[in-house]
């Protein structure tokens, strides 16, 4: 009981009499009131206890935001890393020709041949290399080596890899051409080293433990003339090698003896990413082959709607 406040009037004798008589007063609240009051108070206390526990949890999280933020960011970062590692492999298990053009569609136009950020992105997102065609310095992946027929090169004078160097030398009558070839060889060799260091795991090892297929291919292509090597690199979707050929002087619109440009070959191969890359590097989308087939018609005929849209976006008609 609380103490009486100071300054209270002295107890009146009537008050004392009142309290004495009140003690004998038998009137009292009914038992149902008592029960209802106690039950209500207990229920409120329970509800407050539950609310207090919940509030304590919320306050704990609020006091230590780093706890949940760290966990959240850690989870997101782990998911992002896992996605970066897994998604390219999943895409590689699908059709290499069906790769998305989203990245290329968003890429800003690049300089003609200079390696750019867009190139780096293409290189990072490029589908893993196809089984290497049969060349002397590279071997296809074991699972495809049995099924794949020996590679048949396009109808060019430089069909045999052993004769490639001789053919190039014969074709290059001027000193400048020879210098260009030597330069191309050196740069492609450098590209080979860079590529092998950049993605050693993505290149399937050859059966005899030789160097990855693309390195050998690039080196072999470099021994052929720049244009045909460029077109073959384009046809198999090898953006780094294609970039190296352009850097060494290959014409982005070079064509074979049937008039097929690299862009047309990439279109027929269904390589949307390569088509984007070529268009960004200045390929003419309206060059038709000897029979008059343009890249746009080829894309429409083969149902490559993404490629057709990309070509149309660059003025193809």
């Amino acid at each position: 009981m609380s103490p009486m406040p100071t300054g209270h009037e002295p107890p009146d004798e009537l008050d004392e009499e009142y309290r004495r008589l009140a003690a004998h007063d038998v009137s009292a609240p009914s038992a149902s009131v008592r029960e209802a009051v106690h039950a209500y108070a207990a229920r409120l206390a329970r509800e407050r206890g539950d609310a207090r526990v919940a509030a304590t949890r919320r306050a704990r999280w609020a006091r230590h935001p780093a706890a949940w933020r760290g966990a959240l960011f850690g989870t997101v970062a782990a998911a992002a890393i896992a996605g970066l590692l897994v998604v390219p492999r999943i895409l590689s298990l699908r059709s290499p020709a069906g790769s998305s053009v989203t990245a290329s569609a968003q890429a800003p136009p690049a300089a003609h041949v200079a390696p750019t950020a867009a190139d780096a992105r293409y290189a990072a997102q490029a589908p893993p290399q196809e089984p290497a065609p049969a060349v002397s310095t590279a071997a296809p992946p074991p699972q495809l080596a049995k099924a794949s027929p020996p590679h048949v090169r396009p109808a060019t004078p430089q069909s045999a890899s052993g004769a490639a160097r001789e053919s190039v030398a014969a074709a290059a009558t001027a000193d400048s051409a020879q210098k260009a070839e030597q330069h191309a060889l050196a740069s492609v060799a450098q590209e080979t080293m860079i590529t092998s260091q950049r993605a050693p795991a993505s290149a399937p090892p050859s059966a005899n433990g030789a160097a990855p297929g693309r390195s050998g291919l690039v080196a072999a292509d470099a021994r052929a003339d720049l244009g045909s090597g460029f077109r073959r690199a384009v046809e198999r979707g090898d953006i780094p090698a294609s970039r190296a050929y352009l850097a060494d002087g290959a014409d982005v619109d070079s064509h074979d003896d049937q008039g097929r440009t690299a862009l047309l070959l990439a279109t027929r191969a269904g390589r949307a990413q390569m088509v984007d890359w070529l268009l960004e590097h200045g390929a003419d989308p309206n060059l038709a082959d000897a029979s008059g087939v343009t890249p746009l018609r080829a894309a429409e005929a083969s149902g490559e709607s993404q490629i057709a849209a990309a070509l149309a976006g660059h003025g193809a008609h």
């Binding site: 009981m1 609380s2 009486m4 406040p5 300054g7 209270h8 009037e9 009146d12 009537l14 008050d15 009499e17 009142y18 309290r19 008589l21 009140a22 004998h24 007063d25 038998v26 009137s27 009292a28 609240p29 009914s30 149902s32 009131v33 008592r34 209802a36 009051v37 106690h38 209500y40 108070a41 207990a42 409120l44 206390a45 407050r48 206890g49 207090r52």
Partner: protein, 188 residues
């Protein structure tokens, strides 16, 4: 676990933190005082029961908002008085609508229509005389007197609860005691 000498203010604080035993102790301490205050003011046990429940429900509900600016008893009896006045106001409105006793100044107190014979037998003659004397006090005097004797409140506290000046409250208390002495001298 409640301590015997634990202050009411500590008990209500403990109940606000979830200690139901503290509330039970508070109820035990003040049950009869609040009850007498209500019952002797309204003069009807059923109405007093209703008010009693409302008052203690309000105490349980508002315990978390209780701030010990004054004594717990002052807070408790202020709640009781507000509830009682609300109930009387509602009844007065109802009676006015029924054209029974409308505009008759002080609302006539409701008396138990038929007090049980058992209660009649148990109540002592003096206690009954006191109850009758209190019931004959004017409303304001009765309210102030019961607040002071049941709530053990000072004149200042009664004045604060009834929202009257100190002097007015003191006068009401003085008149109430004078009339009670007069009435009690007849009965006792």
């Amino acid at each position: 676990m409640t301590e015997p000498g634990e202050a009411d203010e500590e008990l209500i604080g403990r109940y606000a933190r979830g200690d139901v035993a503290a509330f039970d102790e508070l109820y035990r301490r003040h049950e009869m005082r609040v009850w007498r205050y209500l019952e002797r003011n309204v003069g009807n046990r059923a109405t007093a029961d209703e008010l009693m429940q409302e008052v203690w429900f309000a105490v349980a509900r508002d315990a978390v908002h209780y701030r010990p600016r004054g004594r717990f008893c002052g807070w408790l009896f202020a709640i009781a008085r507000h509830r009682m006045l609300d109930a009387q106001r509602q009844r007065r409105t109802q009676r006015r609508l029924e054209a029974v006793g409308a505009g008759a100044g002080d609302a006539p107190r409701e008396a138990d229509a038929a007090p049980s014979p058992l209660n009649e037998a148990l109540e002592g003659e003096q206690a009954r005389a006191l109850r009758q004397a209190i019931s004959q006090l004017p409303h304001e005097q009765r309210d102030a007197f019961l607040l002071q004797v049941e709530g053990e409140l000072s004149v200042e506290e009664v004045a604060a609860i009834t929202q009257c000046s100190f002097e007015t409250t003191k006068s009401r208390l003085r008149y109430a005691r004078g009339k009670l002495r007069e009435l009690m001298s007849v009965y006792v």
